[in-house]
């Protein structure tokens, strides 16, 4: 005999599976799934074949041609052009779930030399600090030269799945990490450090800076943390972005033992 709680969970999952859950129920289910609730995940996963089978019955019907223009207009998007909301373009499909990223040992070994060069000031920062990260993020997102990659939990966070997006603009030499559902750090004990891999540098990695994810980290309206990434060296052909956890202040040489996030052009 199932408990009241188990029965509630089963009914919720059934409503979700049949697409009958109301907004509040959907919010509860999705929140529990994102938080890794094992009972909810198991029940939804058990019913997922039914849900998929029912959804697969939906016919394919091309909408009226004028609807595209109407929707584009309502969103303020010019027809035939792309938009500045790059994250939406990267909404992954079922085959693009992030996986665990494995870096070549040589790449990590090269970090020391490159960061030493950075310390000596080979490539001073192009833009001074102190501006609003959210404004900077919006500006970068709107720039046609900006690319967007899905960021997946990796290494210690391999179980987190997709955690957000990494925007990168090669001309501006600046990027932004937009993530949610990630752990905060204790700045007194450890900090996050971004790394950029430049294929034109023979797999050399460049530090993207040290940062915290905490209550004071800027967030966008949807609650995503917005973190600016500025390479210490010019990156001309970025192919991978990664985040590790390091000691406060960051490191010159990392052993990548605490890799937590990664993104790669073309997906991981």
């Amino acid at each position: 005999m199932p408990t009241e709680s188990e029965q509630h969970l089963k009914e919720l999952a059934e409503l979700y599976c049949l697409g009958l859950a109301d907004d509040g129920q959907v919010a509860e289910i999705e929140s529990r799934l994102k938080q890794g609730d094992p009972d909810m995940a198991r029940e939804v996963e058990r019913l997922r074949p039914v849900s998929e089978a029912l959804l697969a019955l939906a016919a394919t019907v091309t909408p009226p041609p004028q609807l595209r223009g109407k929707i584009a207009a309502s969103l303020g998007i010019a027809q035939g052009t792309d938009d500045d909301h790059a994250a939406l373009r990267r909404l992954p499909d079922s085959s693009s779930r992030p996986g665990r990223l494995r870096f070549p040992p040589a790449a990590w070994a090269a970090i020391a030399a490159l960061l030493l060069l950075a310390v000596w000031g080979w490539w001073p920062r192009l833009i001074g600090g102190g501006h609003d990260p959210l404004s900077g993020y919006r500006v970068l997102a709107a720039d046609p030269g900006t690319v967007s990659w899905s960021v997946g939990g990796s290494g210690e966070w391999a179980g987190k799945g997709n955690v957000g997006t990494f925007l990168w603009n090669a001309a501006l030499q600046r990027g932004y990490l937009r993530v949610a559902g990630v752990d905060v750090n204790n700045p007194g004990r450890e900090q996050f450090q971004g790394w950029l891999f430049d294929s034109s540098r023979d797999k050399h990695a460049v530090s993207g800076g040290v940062f915290d994810i905490s209550a004071s980290t800027p967030r966008d309206a949807a609650g995503n943390y917005i973190i600016e990434i500025r390479p210490d060296l010019r990156v001309t052909s970025l192919n991978t972005f990664a985040v590790t956890i390091e000691r406060p202040g960051g490191v010159v040489v990392t052993d990548a033992s605490r890799l937590v996030m990664a993104a790669k052009g073309g997906g991981l």
């Binding site: 049949l18 074949p49 029912l54 909408p63 939406l88 992030p98 949610a180």
Partner: protein, 159 residues
């Protein structure tokens, strides 16, 4: 955003029109789905929720059902037709119905009759459990039980 539209809109529109049977309403709902995605819904997506396409279809389905309920079309339609007539209509294929509903009937045809009706009324017509109970003249608890048993049987069939 429009890339997203180009990629998914035929499936989304097919699902919505299958529920609403009205192009004008389907246009409104698809637009609502895209605006919702633009504003905030995309940020809600997480691979833990399943594939992006399935999640989008669920979102569209939810919006379409909201629309159905908001205009009370289901209730008005079933009240007009009379409960037995509606059940008969739902129980037998009609020449004008879409292939998707016919496929759903074929899938549900493998279930005992008492388990077919609640799922068909819920899935194809967006009825709430209370509406189904009223329609079939059975307690809400019985509807819940039948839906649960029906979903479990479907799970065994397609899982």
């Amino acid at each position: 955003m429009m890339e997203l539209y180009d990629r998914f809109s035929p499936r989304l529109y097919g699902l919505i029109i299958g529920l609403l049977h009205d192009h004008s309403s389907a246009n409104d709902v698809l637009q609502e789905v895209m605006v919702s995605l633009w504003k905030s819904a995309a940020a809600r997506y997480d691979p833990a929720l399943g594939s992006a396409e399935s999640w989008l279809l669920m979102l569209a389905r939810s919006r379409a059902i909201d629309h159905l309920r908001s205009v009370a079309r289901t209730k008005a339609r079933t009240q007009r037709a009379g409960e037995q007539e509606v059940i008969q209509q739902l129980a037998a294929p009609r020449p004008t119905e879409g292939a998707a509903l016919a496929d759903l009937r074929r899938l549900l045809a493998t279930l005992p009759g008492e388990l077919q009706q609640p799922i068909l009324l819920a899935y194809a017509h967006g009825m709430s459990r209370e509406e189904i109970a009223s329609q079939l003249n059975i307690p809400v608890g019985t509807v819940k039980t039948r839906i649960s048993r029906g979903v479990d049987r479907l799970r065994d069939l397609v899982g």
